[in-house]
Symmetry: C2
Subunit: 159 residues, 2 copies
Amino acid sequence: MKLSGGVEWALHCCVVLTAATEPVPAARLAELHGVSATYLAKQLQSLSRAGLVHSVQGKAGGYVLTRAADDITVLDVVEAVEGPQPTFVCTEIRQRGPMATPASACTAPCAIARTMYAADRAWRAALREVSVADLSRMVGTDYEGDVLGQLGQWLRTVD
Amino acid sequence: MKLSGGVEWALHCCVVLTAATEPVPAARLAELHGVSATYLAKQLQSLSRAGLVHSVQGKAGGYVLTRAADDITVLDVVEAVEGPQPTFVCTEIRQRGPMATPASACTAPCAIARTMYAADRAWRAALREVSVADLSRMVGTDYEGDVLGQLGQWLRTVD
DNA sequence: GAGTGGATACTCGGATAGGATCTGTCCGAGTGTCACCGG
DNA sequence: CCGGTGACACTCGGACAGATCCTATCCGAGTATCCACTC
């Protein structure tokens, strides 16, 4: 029950893209965060497949957020990278063994599955309440100085 | 982000142990649920290490709940099998790269980590609200007939 | 000087190895039970 | 008939392979840019 490490990278990238005014290449994002460029590219591909970011090819290409940062929740990013599958999968072991309950009596999930599903919903609800724009605002207030502004400026500088 | 399959087995075993009046061997629990006996034993060892169940060796040995089912939460079982590690680990990538924020400004977790930790807390809180006794009661009301009574009787029968 | 064509350099995308964790299995250590033997 | 002793059978516990998923990497497909050439 450990979240993939790529989730953290993807979230940071989304926040950074908030401060960008033009497409940002994956290599640039990797350099900024000091992580593997090729592996980060894989995460960004996941975001692209999920429709959270739009990729533009060519010389001045890169990634751009497809919609407003307020309309992208943290849950969207997590599900894009991690997959939409639930954290708990019930294998219906109550229908196995010598004391198996008949399938006709198994219309509703069992008590254990209900409990796990409820916890899963609570987790997702907490992630859905926060948007990428919220994260961006938090970053802005956490530190002194215009961090996001400096970030946008660094993205525009050529090396 | 997928929960280990052994969690489901462990939870079912805890509910079954509620209906038992004497130690139940791992092999018996495996037969009841129709799962691998050796692998289930591994999960029960985790429960034993966590102090949720007490193991008695010898001929009439097996596993017994150490405390009242009301005092064992679902979270206890999940953490026993899955480990107490949080679902999200922050690698502090904000301190890396050319725009790294100095370590002196990183006294509090970053916005992303805070959000993920909050979701983790919500998930754990939902699991903590339900006890094994609650599960047992739910199972009793879900189906017609005294399912737990039949279960206890089956456990006492020798094959 | 303006337009056009092509070469170029840069970007993303999917297919490809390596490592770690989860799943599943095995055999040895420990203990209560039972039968047997002696008093 | 009762107590002691020994062997036994049954249990758990940790050490050992196999499978699956995560991590990391590479090379090919596609496109906007730039430059040279022509009109």
